[in-house]
């Protein structure tokens, strides 16, 4: 049975990737840009979910790593002659280092206290970026960031984003399924017990935070490629809240839940705000419905429904 479902899943995966690959041939530019954004935010939400859904950590201010990744890449590209690929990686590394430094302090606390401290420290980083005009451009941000020609067009940046997102998702998936990921899920369910079976809980969580920060940084650098701008709002806490909500709407116990959540939130933001300035109201109503009726998120709900169907098929096959 397992073999059957796994070949089916691989089939679905290939089909989805093929559709994404062919999309630019059919869609107008605006939609290609929109899907690039969905991929970027999807990767960001998935990186948060490493520690949120799989680690049980209330990382309330994840966007700091996104913003710092984006700023690091942007600053390297505008102020130095470092090749693009190194500038791109510098974003992820800077985010991972920041995550390590913040993690050393925050990992001592748990649950809500962790979240509060994380918001405070993250807001400090935001304030620095916002105020340091001579270096970061303050609230003007940085515009017209030079990106290599081959990936600067709409389609070029789309394919680059798609490739990087796929690679990152694959790596995150491997990490979640590895013993490291198993132990992380153990810590999520029961930190005391995890310690009692020999897992160094704090160190394990710290490493998970660094990994989440790293991939958050990659998402930030991708945004630079897609949008060619950075601005301080990228690390303001309201965006973190939005990314947190993406995980909840899509399903924080499903691997692709955050991707789905990101697509939904971006679509709502883009299309509903075209009709009304009160788009946040629609967003709020969707949120209320999801929390009431789909506590495991949209994908979590679909997965639950799919399971009994599989078992039914098995019985029919006898």
């Amino acid at each position: 049975m397992r073999k059957g479902t796994s070949t089916r899943n691989i089939g679905i995966g290939i089909a989805v990737v093929a559709v994404f690959f062919l999309l630019p041939a059919f869609l107008p530019r605006f939609y290609v840009y929109l899907i690039s954004l969905m991929l970027v935010y999807g990767l960001l939400a998935t990186s948060l979910n490493i520690v949120l859904g799989y680690g049980g950590v209330f990382q309330f201010h994840h966007c700091v790593f996104y913003g710092v990744g984006a700023y690091a890449t942007a600053l390297f590209l505008t102020k130095t002659g470092v090749p693009f690929i190194l500038s791109f990686l510098a974003g992820a590394v800077a985010a991972a280092v920041l995550s390590f430094l913040m993690g050393i302090i925050t990992v001592r606390l748990s649950k809500l206290y962790f979240g509060m401290l994380q918001i405070s420290l993250g807001s400090l980083v935001w304030a620095i970026v916002y105020r340091w005009y001579s270096f970061t451009g303050g609230d003007d941000g940085i515009h017209g960031i030079p990106v290599p020609e081959i990936i600067s067009s709409y389609n070029g940046s789309y394919y680059f984003t798609l490739a990087v997102t796929l690679i990152c998702l694959f790596l995150i998936y491997k990490i979640i399924k590895s013993p490291f990921g198993s132990a992380l899920q153990g810590i999520r369910d029961n930190p005391v017990r995890s310690g009692m079976i020999g897992i160094n809980v704090k160190r394990h969580l710290l490493v998970a935070l660094v990994i989440a920060g790293f991939f958050g940084g990659v998402a930030g650098s991708l945004f630079v490629v897609v949008d060619k701008t950075v601005f301080p709002d990228m690390l303001f806490w309201t965006l973190s809240l939005e990314v947190f909500i993406m995980c909840l709407i899509g399903g924080w116990f499903s691997f692709f839940g955050p991707m789905v959540g990101a697509a939904i939130v971006i679509a709502l933001r883009t299309f509903v705000s075209g009709y009304t300035v009160y788009w946040a109201l629609v967003y709020g109503i969707v949120m209320v419905f999801v929390i009431f009726f789909l506590p495991n998120g949209i994908l979590g709900f679909l997965e639950q429904r799919a399971k009994p169907a599989d078992e039914k098929k098995l019985i029919e096959k006898g």
């Binding site: 590895s178 899920q185 017990r193 310690g195 079976i197 020999g198 116990f253």
Partner: protein, 235 residues
């Protein structure tokens, strides 16, 4: 102060019970041994080594593992995954980021599950298990760390009579076949006197007496403080 002037000695291969009224400090004593709490005074020695104040994961790596009074497992994972985490940790594989867990240590996990009689339920979500099975899973997770010294905090609490019998069988088996040293606390006096080599009696955080079943049964202080009460039938 929950525990004060408590003495406990456990010899290799023994089954030792800690008894005492509710609030006597039995669980606190276990928490002190396993590093969940740090003592203000006093020392804990294991195989001649001072392990006082070590953090729980280091205590576990010395070879001490425990189960909890209230079932304390990994709720979102299956029975099999619950035990496998402990086995992975024991084999120091928790820093492996590459190999899928599903390909690792399946046999060892399977062996532990069948030794406690949960093999046929290995794919169940642990929230679907009966209370008795959950208490057994609780022990199985502790066994996953392959300890030399196993601490069981009220292993049969809340179990139906036939489940209790199964649990007694299991504890005997662990001692006989694996040669585990077992320390447990329990309110079921029948169970305590039937499987313990020695018993330690606690009251208000202190040790009243530690000795063989016979010595404890005859001890006047114990009679007065505990066994003489109407709640317990020693016969």
């Amino acid at each position: 102060m929950a525990v004060n002037r408590a003495n406990l000695e456990v010899e290799k291969g023994e089954i030792v019970a800690v008894i005492g009224p509710n609030g006597a400090g039995k669980t606190t004593l276990f928490n002190l041994i396993t590093g969940i709490l740090k003592p203000d005074e006093g020392r804990v020695f294991f195989k001649g080594e001072d392990i006082t104040g070590l953090s729980p994961h280091n205590v576990c790596r010395k070879g001490i593992s425990r189960s909890f009074q209230v079932v304390n497992v990994f709720e979102r994972l299956s029975v099999f995954e619950n035990v496998r985490i402990a086995v992975l940790s024991k084999n120091r594989m928790c820093w492996n980021f590459i190999t899928p867990s599903a390909k690792l240590l399946g046999d060892e996990t399977e062996r532990i599950l069948s030794s406690v009689g949960l093999a046929d339920k290995k794919d169940s979500a642990c929230s679907d298990l009966s209370h008795g099975d959950r208490k057994v899973l609780e022990i199985a997770v502790a066994l996953g760390a392959s300890p030399e010294f196993l601490i069981l905090d009220e292993p049969t609490a809340g179990m139906a009579p036939e489940e209790t019998d199964r649990c007694i069988e299991l504890i005997r088996n662990l001692s006989d076949t694996l040669g585990l040293t077992i320390l447990f606390c329990e309110h079921d006096m029948g169970l305590v006197f039937s499987i313990s080599d020695r018993i330690m009696v606690m009251a208000r955080g202190s040790t009243l007496v530690q000795g063989t079943c016979e010595e404890v049964r005859r001890n006047q202080a114990v009679q007065d403080a505990y066994l003489g009460g109407d709640d317990y039938d020693v016969s």
